[in-house]
Point group: D2
């Protein structure tokens, strides 16, 4: 667990995957940056590798993450995503083990160690509460648990899944922040997931396939904040 | 085979792998750019993904390639290297199927098609003359044949391997440019490979682990040119 | 190309995948054995690994193939399918690179070499005519070309696909036998594929999900023979 | 965790990998069977897939395991190792995630669930104490923790590694049996590992590359029993 980055719930994640890139990604990043500041909500934003440097330079509030990273050391490993190169490019963290980019247990373990070493936060994906518990033993900063059959669908993740994930992960390490995503298409879905106990959530296709991605993104972040304050009154 | 990029032998390839990144990679790129112009030799330069945009912007002569690319379409595919994003970032081509990043036959085939579609040249690696012939059927721009046990070693690839690769690939498609690398540590190795009939070659550790990478790189490119002119007098 | 096994078109392949195993697989194998003899048609039958020894012992006419094989040598490689162990268990060949079990180009190349060495025939899958041509350069005994989106579907592979595959493969090596499958659900589909020029075909779900697999299998083999004799009158 | 198989420490595992197969594997299995009975020590014996049926039939005491298993359901999945087929062939369990056959975290999780469903015990490999703890969350029957750089070497796993693995795994689930292997070449190595607190161990190359594998195997099992009784007097 890398401690050099201030990450506190509630958080929101926008995984661009390969939906947008270049200028379109930069513009969305700037808007996310404005929204992050306006609502004082941490937003994890993960663009294509080649877009990391410019987006990192042009934003101040969002957390620019890589979509994947390899555990390779400086040296060989053609085609790999080198931790040091990511850090140098301005990334502050990385996703690992997403359903569209599975890695072995050993690689998850090594990549978390490399991220800690280099100074990058880790958000590791898991399919089930049990997998989330397994990942928790490897001490990432955050875990994103989502039932894979709901990714990209219109059914949001449910109560039992969220509660079980929270209970298992927190009993292993209460510092690990738990995301629950999958099927988050509207601000209402965001609110529901938070009301069910998640500390963070996110959306890809819900935002990127929307007619007006900027307003959907803002509504979601607003719903995240309101839902959070409702159950965690200050 | 993408026809929008002028690639003519002899060529030289510098695969950075994960040896250097950031400013160090940029400085080497600028030097490669100067050498490419000075000797009028095409240099393929493949840095870490995140370093592509800046290097592409700051150089005029070298061919900035990606170390790998996926065949994904715009949309899903978290963690993938999207062809459109590479092109937009300034890359003009991509390596595929290096011994340190093997892909399936189907993925090689699809990635070449995607590269053609998006406008990126392809340099596909093969372990043996027979594999080079197999790859030639898929119409890449270039094939890099190297015996994997010699990669990073100090024994350079031999005469029979080079001749067989040339004969097989050229009989399938004479337009495909053939690289022979592996074990290229000195300017003398470069010269030998060219004298044995290769159209192009390259080096990673020979340059990056040298005391003075700039002068080794320049000597290699100079040897490439001299060897080439000796057997292809104008 | 292993020359120790007499394989001549037309051929039929039944890939059990994981649909049936144990006694049910043995009974289907015995029936395939009877049909192979009755119609004098070579049938390639590929059961689960653990079912190979008994099926090989209990049949005389069918060609018992493995569904996959690794290129490992005798020694390390826990979890791999060792060529020597397959041969010893009675298998006479192996499938390689099926759409449900893709391998790298290098692994295809090495596995064919190992099969030749150990004495096993190879049937290598390809997605497209171009991939089939690529595979042909590696000298397998047989190539199974099928468009992956048709596998398990009810649309059979078409005329252009078959003709292009045949032309490309035969121009590289006329000894390689070409299968065209995908979407073969009925005896009529078998006949059509043969009339379109394929030398061999096969079916999995068309047989295994049928109400009466035995009679569907027999009808298919009969249609294969009749179609073949119609266009190759003796 | 499958409860239908009586597994109690101390246990010994012989992973044949691809060192031997066929008759040679059967003869070693019979000898292991005799030794298992003589010393009343459970021996896990994992041969090539194709050798499972005969070895399972010809032995009474050893636990015949598969070297790997996929989480596929009955149906598609050409080339996969189907759980139901293994069970039917006489296997009583399976190894998963060995250093030579890594699988994703998700696949480990699913394969354990499938094994429980079908009635097969699971022995899951891990590289480090932390990975062993991660695996423990997924409730396998047994965990085999070994530092990968020691596999096949002549340096046996050390005290700190064993103690940490035991402490972590047992705090999660005391029923999970912990193996510590890697670098076990002699009966003395076996004894040492047990004296350091492991509940089980094993050897591949220590036995299979020995001049007299049978006597090395017997000495190791004898040392296992004596070491165990010394620290767990009845």
């Amino acid at each position: 667990m890398y401690r050099g980055l201030k990450l506190k719930p509630p958080l929101f994640e926008i995984g661009l995957k390969g939906y947008i890139y270049g200028n379109q990604a930069l513009e969305l990043a700037k808007e996310a940056d404005r929204i992050s500041e306006k609502y004082d909500i941490g937003i994890i934003f993960d663009p294509q590798y080649v877009d990391i440097p410019l987006i990192a330079r042009e934003t101040r509030n969002i957390f620019v993450f890589s979509q994947h990273m390899d555990s390779v050391e400086v040296g060989r490993g053609l085609g790999s995503v080198l931790p040091e190169a990511l850090k140098n490019a301005g990334a502050v963290g990385t996703l690992l083990n997403h359903a569209e980019r599975r890695i072995t247990l050993t690689e998850i373990s090594k990549a978390i160690k490399r991220a800690d070493e280099v100074g990058l936060a880790t958000l590791v994906c898991a399919d089930s509460p049990e997998e989330a518990a397994a990942v928790a033993q490897l001490k990432p900063n955050m875990i994103l648990a989502e039932p894979p059959d709901l990714i990209g669908s219109s059914s949001a993740v449910g109560k039992e899944f969220i509660e079980k994930t929270m209970a298992l992960v927190k009993s292993i390490d209460p510092e690990i922040i738990v995301f629950n995503s999958a099927g988050i298409k509207t601000a209402e879905d965001v609110r529901n997931v938070i009301m069910l106990g998640a500390e963070a959530t996110g959306s890809t296709s819900g935002i990127l396939k929307a007619k007006d991605p900027y307003s959907v993104m803002e509504e979601m972040v607003k719903a995240l904040k309101e839902g959070w304050l409702e159950i965690h009154p200050e």
